[in-house]
Every structure is written in structure tokens, then in C-alpha cells.
């Protein structure tokens, strides 16, 4: 029995994260930085996760980082992702030290490895959302 293909889930956006998604739509990766203690923050918060200040600003992120860990999903994914099999889910550690979940694209899924250098690319999901994803790059 074929499972009907569900539409891809879109991010359920918190109001204070809107600048992130607006930037992503323009193919820019931005993260927060605390103006009091300098800590880089991702995902967006209402206050600094280090010093608790709400004196936060948005800054461009390098978009470069390394694969902290990953998996190649080969079967039994959430139903909306069945057509994408196999695909890579990974935790990427950016040069700024923050971590984000994403997909590694533009390569053979089985060529991905822990500590692989990657850089951000943008994939349009629909008119409203563009997702930051990552592709392998030279170290």
C-alpha cells in the first residue's frame, strides 16, 4: 500500500526568530550575538544563554563549519520525507561555535563523515521559507 506523500513540514516560527527566516529567504545566514558578553547564539533566543542580557543583535554567520555528527536516513523516515530517501541529517558546528541541525546536500550521502568541512547553501522550500543546508567544501 502506497503512503500518500505529505507536504513537507514548514518551520513553525517564533516571533523573535523572524529575522533569521527573512535573511534565509535572501540566502543569508545570520545568528544572534550578545552585545554585552559577545556570545554567539543559535537558535534565536529572547535573552543571552550565557549572561542573560537581552541586549542582542543579529550578525552574519560565516556559514562554514564541520559536521559534528550525521546519519544517512535509508528507511522509515517521517512520511513527508519518504520521497527524499536516502538523505543526510546532520548536526553542523559552525565556526562561531553554535550548532544547528540541517541536511548535507550536493554529495553522495555515504561520503559524509564526522568533522567534514561544510559550507551553507540555501534550498527554497516554498515562497515563504528557504532552509539553510550544507555542502562539503575543501578544508
Amino acid at each position: 500500500m502506497d503512503t500518500p506523500v505529505k507536504p513537507k513540514p514548514v518551520p513553525v516560527v517564533n516571533p523573535w526568530a523572524k529575522p533569521f527566516w527573512e535573511a534565509a529567504r535572501e540566502n543569508k545566514l545570520i545568528i544572534q550575538q550578545c552585545k554585552d558578553c559577545g556570545t554567539y547564539i543559535f537558535y534565536p533566543r529572547i535573552a543571552c544563554t550565557n549572561c542573560f542580557s537581552d541586549n542582542l543583535t543579529w550578525v552574519p554567520a560565516s556559514g562554514r563549519g564541520k559536521v559534528y555528527t550525521y546519519t544517512v536516513v535509508e528507511s522509515y523516515p517521517p512520511s513527508a520525507f519518504i520521497p527524499d530517501l536516502p538523505f543526510v541529517v546532520a548536526v553542523v558546528r559552525l565556526e562561531e561555535g553554535v550548532q544547528m541541525l540541517s541536511n548535507i546536500v550536493g554529495c553522495d550521502p555515504h561520503s559524509v563523515y564526522c568533522e567534514m568541512p561544510v559550507a551553507v547553501v540555501f534550498e527554497k522550500l516554498n515562497e515563504e521559507f528557504t532552509l539553510p543546508k550544507f555542502k562539503p567544501v575543501e578544508a
Binding site: Y68, T69, E74, Y76, P78, V89
Partner: protein, 394 residues
């Protein structure tokens, strides 16, 4: 450190078989387990003054019934002062035991019934179960849109653990085999067929490096336990199971925010619990380590001090954790072999811990067990929880 060491005890346990029971109503699993626990404790049902159900995931309607006192009414409990749900996902039983202990020690409650039931095996479709566990506890903004789900999460922990330790797929698979050996001695377990490492490693690829047989299977079931003061316990129970120590570390909500996905907070949580109990891992007769996927059982086992990091797999492989082994581990078969009933995974484990210490574990009884450690964790492995229980107060 809490003031609860030796102040309260589990005096009764109840459990119905875990499996797929399409004809059985979820409430049956709850009230049958509760009734068994009350009988096991040897108390009158009306001595229960506090009912503490944890949450069911398969149906919001059924969960609301648990919240709105159905268990108390179905069992005809006449002296219940409060019915209040305690829920922390997979660590519910551990968190509830500490809350129950605090209520009893403070005098706010005398005899607490903790109960769980769920129908994740037959109350939701197979894909429905996957979809539930690709949204429950997973960030709708930062992870769901990327295809995140629980098998991928466990796979990413396994991948990093393998990278850091050099541990092999054979070591990971050995955890499944060890748990199956225990499940074969557990009448309430779902899976009892022989399981060989080769079979685990030859099963279909799930999310690399995990294969289908590295995954738990969702199931129906229920379990319950009764908590009272140590003083009262000694008066009515032959072998009360005392709470000796507890520790916990909340590390994250969003999985990708966890800085160490192959360790989490287990080491610190373990130190807290052992320090309070005044014991060390060497004193432990039974290690009831939460699984859900083999990697989490392996990490918990090592971080608590039962093996050096990266060496635990070898112990699972050569039988140290099996029936008759030097550190019997996850003796009900865990969620990998007894079955995954949602919050019930660690309820079953808590009940099994008490069962072993009470000497009621039948064929799989660890002879002379005095001290046991139990672990539990909820969400995307968000809160390492460790409890130490024993039949003596050291």
C-alpha cells in the same frame, strides 16, 4: 543532595504483558496494573491517598481520562486526596518517584499509586508512530523541517560515539542480544525469539549506522508501583525497596543544541546518585539501564562507571551483562525486547528494579540482589536521570 535517602520505599509492583493487543482498552492496562500493585503491596485499596498517573501518548482523549481521575474511580478508591499527573517523557517514572518520595517525606501524602498505560502498539498506525516520534519533543522550527526523527537522533549519537571510541557495529548490536537474552526469561516481554548478532547486523538499514533490529518497537502495556514511607513499609512489607539516591542532569530540548551527543549528563547524574546513596558502581548487583536504542544503554552503562568509555560493548559482547553475568543489565529486556510503551519504557524498568530487589523476578532473578541502579531519560535524551534503590540503607 536531597534528604530522601532511606526515607521512602516501593512496596508493591504490578505489570501487564507488553505487546500488541488490539482488543484491549488502554484503561485496562492501567487498572489491571494498579490492581496488581495494590495486591502485591498487601494493602487495602483505600489506603491509597494519592494517585499519580503519568501520561499516555497514543490518545489525548485517554490521557485526559487519566488526568481526570478515571483510575481512582474505576478501582473504587475511596480516600484519594489528589490525582495529579507527573510526566517527563521517558524519565517520568524516575521523576515521579522522587516527587512521590518528597510528598511522603513531607507528610503531604501517605500511600501513592503511580500508574502508566499506553497503546502505542495498536492505538496508532506504524507510520503514525513514526510521525508521532518525528514531532513529539522535536523542535517544530529548528528540526522537524529537516526530517529529524528518533531513529535519526539515535543514529547520530551512535555515529559520534563510534567516531570517538572506535567501537564497532558488533558492539552496538551486542546490546540488543544481551537484552533479548533477558527478555527470553520475562513472561511480560514482547520479543522472546533467539537473536544473534549476525541477524541484527543483517537486518535492513534504518539510519546509518543503525539497522531495523537496533530499533525498539512500539507496544501496548501498563505498569504501576506503590510508594510509602520507610517506616510504614517495614510494618507491612517483607522486603521494601528503599530509595537510596538520585541524580539528574537536564541538558537540552533541541537535540542539535546538545554539546556532547555521545555522553550527555550521565556521568554527573551518576556521581550525584552514588554519592547520596554512599555506594559505588562496584556495590551494584543489578544495572537497569534505559535503552530505547542500544547506544543509550551503552553510554549510560559506561558513564555511570560500569565500564571505561568505549569498553562497554565488549562486556555486552562477551556476556558480562547477560543472565549469569557479572553485572546483570536491563533485566526485563528493555524497550528493545520487552517493547516501547512510551513513558512506560522506564516505568517497566523501575518496576523491574523493584522486582529484582524484592526477589520476585522468577527465572531471571539475580540471586541476593541488594543494590540496583535504574536510569531513565526523556525526549531526545534531554535529561539523564539516575536512581539507586536497595533493600538495605547503607
Amino acid at each position: 543532595m536531597s534528604k530522601l535517602k532511606g526515607k521512602v520505599a516501593i512496596i508493591g509492583i504490578g505489570e501487564v504483558p507488553t505487546g500488541r493487543f488490539p482488543e484491549t482498552a488502554a484503561i485496562y492496562h492501567a487498572i489491571a496494573s494498579a490492581r496488581l500493585a495494590i495486591r502485591d503491596a498487601g494493602i487495602q485499596k483505600d489506603e491509597i491517598d494519592y494517585v499519580m498517573p503519568t501520561a499516555a501518548l497514543f490518545s489525548p482523549q485517554f490521557n485526559t481520562e487519566l488526568v481526570t481521575c478515571r483510575v481512582a474511580e474505576e478501582l473504587g478508591l475511596k480516600n484519594v486526596k489528589k490525582n495529579c499527573q507527573v510526566f517527563a517523557g521517558g524519565s517520568s517514572s524516575t521523576c515521579a518517584l522522587e516527587i512521590a518520595a518528597s510528598l511522603i517525606h513531607s507528610g503531604a501524602a501517605n500511600m501513592i499509586l503511580f500508574v502508566h498505560a499506553d497503546r502505542l502498539g495498536t492505538g496508532v498506525s506504524a507510520q503514525g508512530g513514526i510521525d508521532l516520534f518525528s514531532t513529539a519533543g522535536i523542535s517544530a522550527e529548528w528540526e522537524v523541517p529537516f526530517g529529524q526523527h528518533y531513529s535519526a537522533i539515535a543514529a547520530m549519537s551512535t555515529m559520534r560515539y563510534k567516531y570517538e571510541t572506535g567501537c564497532t557495529d558488533e558492539h552496538i548490536s551486542a546490546v540488543c542480544v544481551s537484552n533479548r537474552k533477558w527478555a527470553q526469561l520475562n513472561p511480560n516481554a514482547m520479543f522472546k525469539k533467539d537473536l544473534a548478532i549476525e541477524e541484527v547486523m543483517a537486518s535492513k538499514s534504518l539510519s546509518t549506522p543503525l539497522r531495523v533490529k537496533h530499533s525498539n518497537v512500539l507496544a501496548d502495556g501498563g505498569a504501576a508501583f506503590i510508594v510509602t514511607s520507610a517506616e510504614r513499609a517495614r510494618a507491612i512489607c517483607e522486603r521494601p525497596v528503599y530509595l537510596l539516591g538520585e541524580g539528574g542532569v537536564v541538558t537540552h530540548f533541541v537535540f542539535s543544541q546538545e554539546p556532547d551527543v555521545s555522553r550527555f549528563g550521565w556521568a554527573k547524574a551518576g556521581r550525584m546518585a552514588f554519592e547520596e546513596a554512599g555506594l559505588t558502581p562496584k556495590d551494584v548487583d543489578v544495572a537497569e539501564i534505559y535503552d530505547s536504542y542500544p547506544i543509550y544503554q551503552l553510554i549510560g552503562f559506561e558513564e555511570l562507571g560500569f565500564a571505561e568509555r568505549g569498553q562497554g560493548g565488549e562486556m555486552f559482547l562477551k556476556g558480562d551483562t547477560w543472565p549469569g553475568g557479572k553485572i546483570p543489565t536491563t533485566t526485563n529486556g528493555g524497550m528493545l525486547s520487552q517493547g516501547h510503551t512510551g513513558a512506560g519504557g522506564a516505568v517497566a524498568l523501575m518496576v523491574e528494579t523493584a522486582r529484582q530487589l524484592m526477589g520476585k523476578a522468577g527465572e531471571r532473578q539475580v540471586q541476593g540482589a541488594r543494590f540496583a541502579v535504574e536510569t531513565a531519560v526523556g525526549g531526545t535524551y534531554m535529561d539523564a536521570q539516575v536512581t539507586i534503590l536497595g533493600t538495605e540503607i547503607p
